[in-house]
């Protein structure tokens, strides 16, 4: 999608810079959000919504994460505990030093989305890549038309970014929030049901709308079917892909889908682009 | 004035929880002295010791490795040390075949009551390995450098 890649340090793109964890927030039982800052108190780099960062726990390993938010002097990454490295990261404390390099990859089509209705669909931890886009829309609200945010997780306690979900985003002008969970719990009064089902119940109109869809593969699959039933075309649907990455700069070879490298040509693709790629996911 | 420290080997001893570790404990209770360069790792059974632990130990800078368990017939898990016996008889020969001095990898049966045997074994092994000097065979470069740095000047 967008061609303007931004790499904020001019040196070797494979060498991380040492950054400090300055804040940790427990989002859900298995998701934590970490805030990183350089040692001299600056923002490590300035990612665009959708871009990636390579986080390295020195000696333990490196992994690519999407940058979920940024402030004047920090960036934020939300991490779900699911492997050796993330396990170790969840043990980390404020003040711990890590390596960080990036930003990598393309970003959401901010320009192309201007003047359109937007429908954000996220499932589980996959709200993390959508979050900077939604916050960008919030900051530049006049550029975009009506916004719908549909987000689902397994259970109420697995909902991430609760402050934004229930406080910040619902107060955005001309915005509808739709939160759903697979399985309800005591005290939860919202909708219960899977994201694709709920989406069809809500019956969005495809007219002048761009859909940004992120979630586990199975959710994507059924959401796409639902969207196409509602009359959306694949050009209207934007999603992000995930592959194992090592270098982040399109060299090491493993994140290719066909001749595209997810780390430099992605992670953001339109469904129309994905259709052109071999079925390898 | 700097004191030239004598080189001390790093010796890793895997001790079975039920016999040798108890034996070591008893040695401690009886105020028996054994070399400080011996480092104990407690394992549930001597057959818990994967032969790869030994390779890794040598690679990561140990100068000697010892595996200790219950006497045959006394295994807490009935048959564990019989497997140990086969495993390390072969391992010892294979290591020797690869050029690792046989004294660097040994196995011994030491029961919970054999505190004196534990002490004597540790003293003997420590002495043997000290005489051999630092192990550089199949040791990672980084640890070879470390070994050379700590070697006594002749």
């Amino acid at each position: 999608m967008g061609d303007d890649h931004v790499c904020t340090y001019d040196k070797n793109p494979l060498i991380p810079q040492v950054c400090k964890i300055i804040f940790i927030e427990q989002e859900t039982p298995d998701v934590k959000t970490f805030r990183f800052q350089t040692l001299d108190g600056k923002k490590p780099f300035a990612p665009l919504p959708g871009q990636l960062g390579m986080l390295s726990l020195l000696g333990t390993g490196e992994a690519m994460f999407s940058i979920t938010s940024q402030g004047e002097d920090y960036i934020e990454i939300s991490i779900k505990r699911c492997g050796l490295l993330t396990e170790a990261l969840h043990e980390a404390e404020v003040g711990q030093l890590v390596g960080l390099r990036g930003p990598y990859g393309n970003h959401f089509p901010l320009k192309e989305a201007e003047g359109l209705d937007l429908l954000f669909v996220g499932g589980g931890i996959a709200l993390a890549p959508l979050r900077p886009f939604i916050n960008y829309v919030k900051a530049n609200r006049e550029k975009f038309k009506h916004v719908d945010i549909l987000y689902g997780s397994r259970s109420p306690e697995d909902l991430v970014f609760k402050r934004e979900l229930f406080e910040a985003w619902p107060t955005m002008p001309d915005t509808n929030m739709h939160v759903t969970v697979d399985k309800g719990a005591a005290g939860y009064e919202g909708n219960v049901g899977f994201v694709p089902t709920y989406m069809e119940e809500l019956a969005f109109s495809p007219e002048g709308k761009m859909v940004v869809l992120c979630g586990p593969p199975i959710m994507i699959k059924f959401c796409l079917q639902a969207l196409f039933r509602m009359g959306f075309s694949k050009e209207q649907v934007i999603t992000t892909l995930e592959m194992r990455m090592k270098c982040g700069i399109g060299k090491c070879g493993r994140c290719n889908i066909g001749s595209k490298y997810v780390c430099v040509d992605g992670p953001v693709f339109s469904m129309a682009e994905i259709d052109e790629l071999p079925d390898e996911k | 004035m700097s004191v030239i420290k004598e080189w001390e080997p790093k010796i890793l001893v895997f001790t079975c929880n039920w016999c040798t570790y108890t034996g070591a404990d008893l040695a401690g209770l009886n105020r028996m002295k054994y070399p400080e360069n011996v480092r104990l790792v407690r394992v549930p059974c001597s057959s818990r010791v994967n032969p790869q632990f030994i390779l890794r130990a040598f690679m990561k800078g140990c100068d000697g490795v010892l595996v200790c368990g219950c006497h045959p017939g006394d295994c807490h898990y009935v048959s564990g040390n019989y497997f140990t016996r086969r495993r390390f008889m072969l391992m010892q020969r294979l290591l020797e075949y690869n050029g690792v001095d046989p004294a660097r990898f040994q196995a011994r049966w030491i029961s919970g009551s054999e505190a004196a045997k534990f002490r004597d074994t540790m003293i003997r092994v420590s002495k043997e390995i000290k005489a051999l000097g630092p192990n550089t065979k199949f040791r990672e470069d980084w640890y070879v450098k470390e070994a050379i740095a700590n070697e006594p000047s002749k």
Binding site: H5, C7, K11, N12, P13, L14, I15, P16, Q17, V18, S56, L58, G59, T60, G61, E62, A63, C82, G83, L84, L85, T86, G95, L97, V98, G99, E242, M243, R244, K246, C247, I249, G250, K251, C252, G253, R254, C255, N256, I257, G258, S259, V264, P278, D279, E280, K281 | E140, W142, Y143
Partner: protein, 331 residues
């Protein structure tokens, strides 16, 4: 210009004065490019080295940076590159460096580890007098007697080499050799490869369209999933990044990796987009013959024949190309 073969040692000695000269030689039974010892003549008669020269630019294990962990964590790039000369490179291997240049030096990011080494590398190619049983470079669009991207091209005339500078750096080499060279020229031998493969027109594009073709089941079956083909391949450049840690210190390094290994693409959590050898063989062949062509306009196979020679189950990329071509013709 001509370089008498008797003066080859002198020529190498001159190059050795300010660079590490890598020559094809058999060391302990393995033919590879190895630092010239100043004594033995390089084995320029051997068709191809077992290991490709890619190690000079892209070492099997390459230290990237040293780090310390803990409250004073630091990261320091591993510095230091020396001048290198690759002497006696065949056309196929010279082309492979061209392929790697495209992979490492173009695109959004350049690879500075590679580029530093590349800037310090002089390539002296030697034309083939004869070809080996596994060579098929001319089918891949190469000429066994000339390597256009080499700095200096040597042509074997029997008693002497015809020497041609092809770049500025090559001219500098000829300057260094001035006292050894004599006027003259001669016709270089023009060998042909015995193994001929017919690459159909528009092959990469058509192959892209065969992603779901049953041919992949068939060709991948004998594959054992080892990394021999990728490690002896002069153009395979995939790598992995890992760390070696000793207490609070460590080194981050990158090392060759093989797309044929099962854990190559496996993600945290266990999902593997290329779970079986069918997907992995397909990815390797498509990368060589289609994806790279789409990205850089040339095939990633240079026809050196190493993978054909060394494959434990005697899989053969030339046979695959023919099979795929046949499948294309049959619609």
């Amino acid at each position: 210009m001509l370089l008498d073969k008797k003066r080859l040692k002198e020529a190498l000695a001159i190059l050795s004065r300010d660079a590490k000269v890598l020559v094809p030689m058999e060391v302990d039974g393995v033919a590879k490019f190895t630092p010239w010892d100043g004594q033995k003549l390089p084995s320029l008669d051997m068709i191809n080295t077992t290991l490709p020269p890619k190690d000079a630019l892209f070492p099997q294990t390459e230290k990237m940076y040293n780090f310390t962990t803990g409250p004073n964590a630091q990261i320091a790039e591993v510095q230091g590159t020396e001048k290198q000369v690759l002497f006696g490179v065949r056309s196929c291997d010279a082309r492979s460096i061209d392929c790697m240049d495209k992979a490492f030096l173009t695109g959004t990011f350049g690879d500075s580890f590679y580029s530093k080494k590349r800037e310090n590398l002089t390539i002296i190619a030697v034309g083939c007098v004869k070809t080996g049983p596994f060579c098929f470079c001319d089918s891949m669009g190469l000429d066994p007697s000339s390597a256009p991207n080499a700095d200096v091209q040597l042509a074997d005339l029997g008693d002497a080499y015809a020497v041609t500078a092809q770049t500025e750096r090559g001219t500098a080499v000829l300057d260094q050799w001035k006292s050894l060279l004599t006027e003259g020229e001669g016709d270089a031998p023009k060998p042909k490869c015995v193994l001929q493969v017919s690459v159909p027109e528009d092959f990469p594009k058509k192959l892209m369209g065969m992603f779901e073709h049953p041919i992949w089941d068939e060709v991948s079956k004998p594959c054992l999933g080892c990394g021999t083909c990728t490690y002896v391949c002069p153009t395979c450049y995939c790598f992995d990044i890992n760390a070696e840690k000793h207490g609070h210190e460590g080194t981050e390094f990158r090392c060759w990796d093989s797309c044929m290994f099962s854990d190559y693409a496996r993600m945290a959590g266990g999902h593997n987009p290329r779970p079986s050898k069918k997907e992995r063989v397909r990815n390797r062949y498509l990368h060589k013959l289609a994806y790279f062509h789409e990205q850089h306009g040339q095939l990633l196979c240079v026809g050196c024949g190493r993978c054909v020679q060394k494959c434990p189950s005697n899989m053969d990329i030339t046979r695959f190309i023919d099979m795929a071509g046949e499948a294309m013709n049959n619609g």
